[in-house]
Amino acid sequence: MSVWTRCDRAWAWLVALVVGLLAVDALHGQAIAAGSEVDDAPVAVLMVLSSRMPYALQEWPRMKRVAKRAGFIVLAARDSRVPSQEWAAAVSARDLFELRDVPVLDEQMGIDLGLLHHAPSSLVVRCGVWHPWPILGVMPDQAWVELLRHRAAQLRERPCS
């Protein structure tokens, strides 16, 4: 892997996202404490969701649960192309109230990071460095965890600055 993405704008956006989500989701702290995938710096996975991709919302609870169990901080964002009303109706219909007020992904950031080809698209990040390869789509538990660990292991090869 030769290309690594350090995007200050994206990092600032992520920080805001983390702060916001930590305030409303104490489980993040528990995930960090569990520490199975965390060494000196936590590894987070940002999942961009769209109500227009049928499996994205349906599989969000499972994929979030599995990723958390593996020690990842799990963050969600809404695809900016989904109107807010449509999003609100979709998450309410599935009783996914935790997603109602998630941040909207900055569209340019989504393009820059290749996150808008599909939903869900998930990007692993550690101390400001985004893995350049989004994980596209839904998948079974084992493959999901293996991919998250693959991305995390490659990110850990780089020291935090």
Binding site: M53, P54, H117, H118, Q142, L147
Partner: protein
Amino acid sequence: MSGLNHWALSAGFVACAMLVSGVGAGSTEHLADSCIPAQEYVALNAATVGLGQDGLPALGSYERISPDGRFILRSYSGAQLGKVSLIELPWLEGEALKAYPTPLSNEAFPVQGTWRYLIDVNGDHYRFTDVYRRGRQAKPLFRGGMTGFYAAASEMSLEASVQERGGPLAEEPTRKIHLRSLSWPQDADPDSQGIGPLQLMTLEILDDGQSARVVHRQGPQFICDGRVATDGNAYALPMLSVRGDEFSAIAQAPRVGQPSMRIYRLAPSANSVNHSCDLVADLGLTVSKAVFGFARAGESAWLAYSDLGNVYVHDRTLGVSFRLDHGKSRVLASAFPGLTRDGRVIYGASWRECADGAKCPEKNGYVVIDPYQSTAYRAYWQQQGQSPPQSCIRWQAVQDERLRFARMHHLTP
């Protein structure tokens, strides 16, 4: 349809009707030989499809295009039509787009190649014509095949039988049909999952035109374990080819290179269990789902895909992708496109008639494109100093496909 094209549509239908009735093309022959419009925008209207949550006619998502481009199977159809609806694009001048409710669930999919059956996500197979004529009252014929994430199916016997006969499909008595399906099932045996990420199944169906039943199942079997050393064991956005002999997917964690949309070979025989998954093409970039068109003699099937709202076709013989033109303002493809047998690209989209949002409100509908008339395709051949092998899609080809599909499904053309 666009008003500019009414003459062509009318002429096309006349020629088509004459073909149906066995009358020679006569004076309309030259029209049948003319090019179809380079682009058409077919707007949805709220009376037919209802309003979506954005206040526009409900666009839906996850559209699948019939081989003749007449029908679109779409999920997320909105409150008025229910989860999955069947859209029939207009053909005659002044004809309205039609929509039919179905008993299917979101992400139901057709058997590619023929649309003989529409498959619900639980594996229930419905006869296409039953859904078309009876809507929600349609009943499944049998259950089988792969279900799960990104399930797709193709009829394998079609092309072989057509080639054997040397002609298009006609009414047939009871026949054996082989359906190959591919998916990534969530309930796969975790102990076996490590040997290959995707699963495949082939069904042998006996269909007498009224009833149909599964007489043999092969699989499900994991495939592509031999590619782990180079492509890893996780793929994204798999899609089966029309003939079931290839699939496209993005290797998510390749051991070599970086993720890209790739085409892999499957055994062409319905009875084979040895799938090489040989790499046959690599687009070299990550795009949304790559959908297969119909292969022509001696050539690989084209692909169509969307990328950030634009739609592309990929000519595998050339190894080149061509971005398709936008004939309207702010055109945004809503989901992945489809290719008809004659080569048209059809996709759902939103657009404006002009750039001024105040003067031109957003519209939802379907876009029909002739890729051979696209700026990028013509520019490529101009740069080569050659004439393109095909300058456009002609009405005759469109009519032929419409007739072929209508004959197979006993529909009025």
